[in-house]
């Protein structure tokens, strides 16, 4: 278990308070502020590192990440539809959540690697931004096909102009422009305080996650299984692709975490608009209540050891 990390303890603290039904949460504006800070920090960190890399180097990685995000829902969908016996809309919507990524999980993976002094490619935030959207398109495609009725303009708006994506993209661009020396003056808030901000964020996430678990009801057993096994399977794909891209063990761990994590901000909002007949409770309860909790507590260290093994087996 990933338990000695103070950030994880904050998360567990939130979960326990939520389970005890103690009425406590960050004020809405503070939560929004913490989220914005986290998104900008992640973007900035990635952007500063990207300024050292060439586009020619990044291009194959970008294309591979986009393809992975688009294809993961096509693996999740048949499992949900035929094993889980969910409706077409619910299967497509849940599948989209699992193809997309979670910023919180990514941040915990970064913090985990740093606390263990494991080196990783610092431009991984770029993949976090890239992986938000393709799964949304895949989910809508699964639910609707190439139907004439699909309002693609709206769909693209929902998929690519989500607030979270814009904030990270803004951070990436600013970081890329200013580079390491320019970043010095904004370092105290955006870089040095990263773990403290993340701790606050995870405290709130613990509260929210524990409030979601109770809403699973009828499909609880299947979704608990799916919410744990699907990320484990996706992480294997992520590790293998990371290895193929030539990433370090730390980089492979993050790529696996990205593949394994499920969205609970951008995708739910987009699905609500694009596939309104899908039940949002199912997808959020499993992506946040189960998969996020699993990834934060157990998944990330597991993906790290998986990355180590694959690295050795494939003789890198």
């Amino acid at each position: 278990m990933n338990i000695v990390n103070p950030i994880i303890l904050f998360f567990l603290f939130g979960v326990i308070i939520g389970l005890l039904r103690i009425k406590l949460c960050l004020p809405r504006q503070i939560y929004d502020f913490v989220t914005i800070l986290l998104l900008l920090s992640i973007g900035l960190k990635g952007g500063v590192e990207m300024s050292k890399l060439s586009l020619g180097f990044l291009f194959p990685q970008i294309v591979t990440a986009l393809a992975m995000g688009f294809l993961l829902p096509f693996i999740a969908y048949p499992v949900l539809r035929y094993l889980g016996r969910f409706s077409l809309a619910d299967s497509a919507s849940i599948a989209a959540h699992y193809g997309s990524v979670s910023v919180g999980t990514f941040a915990v993976a970064i913090s985990f690697l740093i606390s263990k002094n494991i080196p990783f490619e610092k431009h991984m935030a770029l993949f976090l931004v890239l992986l938000e959207s393709p799964a949304i398109l895949a989910g809508i495609f699964l639910a609707r096909g190439f139907s004439q009725k699909t309002k693609w303009k709206e769909v693209f708006h929902e998929a690519f102009l989500d607030k979270g994506i814009i904030l990270m993209l803004g951070g990436l661009l600013i970081g890329w422009i200013i580079g390491p020396s320019g970043a010095l003056i904004i370092k105290p808030l955006f870089f040095d305080m990263f773990n403290s901000i993340l701790a606050l964020f995870l405290f709130e996430m613990g509260l929210i996650a524990s409030s979601q678990i109770g809403s699973l009801k009828r499909h609880a057993l299947f979704l608990i299984g799916f919410g744990i096994l699907m990320p484990m399977f996706s992480s294997l794909i992520g590790v293998l692709i990371g290895c193929w891209l030539g990433l370090s063990i730390g980089g492979m761990t993050i790529f696996a975490t990205l593949a394994a994590s499920a969205s609970y901000i951008a995708v739910p909002a987009a699905m609500r608009i694009s596939i309104p007949e899908a039940n949002p409770t199912l997808s959020i309860a499993s992506s946040l209540g189960i998969t996020f909790t699993f990834n934060v507590l157990v998944g990330i260290p597991l993906y790290y050891s998986l990355a180590q093994k694959v690295f050795i087996i494939l003789g890198r």
Binding site: R28, Y31, I208, S211, Y264, A269, R272, I273, P276
Partner: protein
């Protein structure tokens, strides 16, 4: 004082569809609206607004009966089935009917 009769349409629904609804209302002829954050409990469970996917909004529109009916019909056709949405209409007295 002279008062004029208008309709007050109140819609309580998911905050995620706010932008789309507002666009629809404009197109259907509403001259204005007031939106506030809301929380509570209904058929779709407790919506306590601790984060965005779980929060509600309350939209209040004062308009003439014709526009009110148009909006209600539109919401019935497009939103009531799939979204957490409650709507009700009340008669209200206003001072300046030209504003609505």
């Amino acid at each position: 004082m002279d008062f004029y009769k208008e309709k007050l349409l109140t819609v309580i629904t998911e905050s995620e569809i706010e932008e789309h609804l507002v666009e629809d209302f404009d197109k259907l002829g509403a001259k204005g609206y007031t939106i506030s954050l809301a929380r509570g409990k209904g058929e779709k469970g407790i919506r306590n607004a601790i984060w965005s996917s779980n929060s509600n909004i309350k939209i209040e529109i004062i308009c003439c009966p014709k526009v009110c009916e148009k909006i209600v019909e539109f919401l019935k056709a497009n939103y009531l089935k799939n979204y957490a949405m409650i709507l009700f209409v009340a008669d209200v007295d206003v001072l300046r009917p030209s504003k609505f």
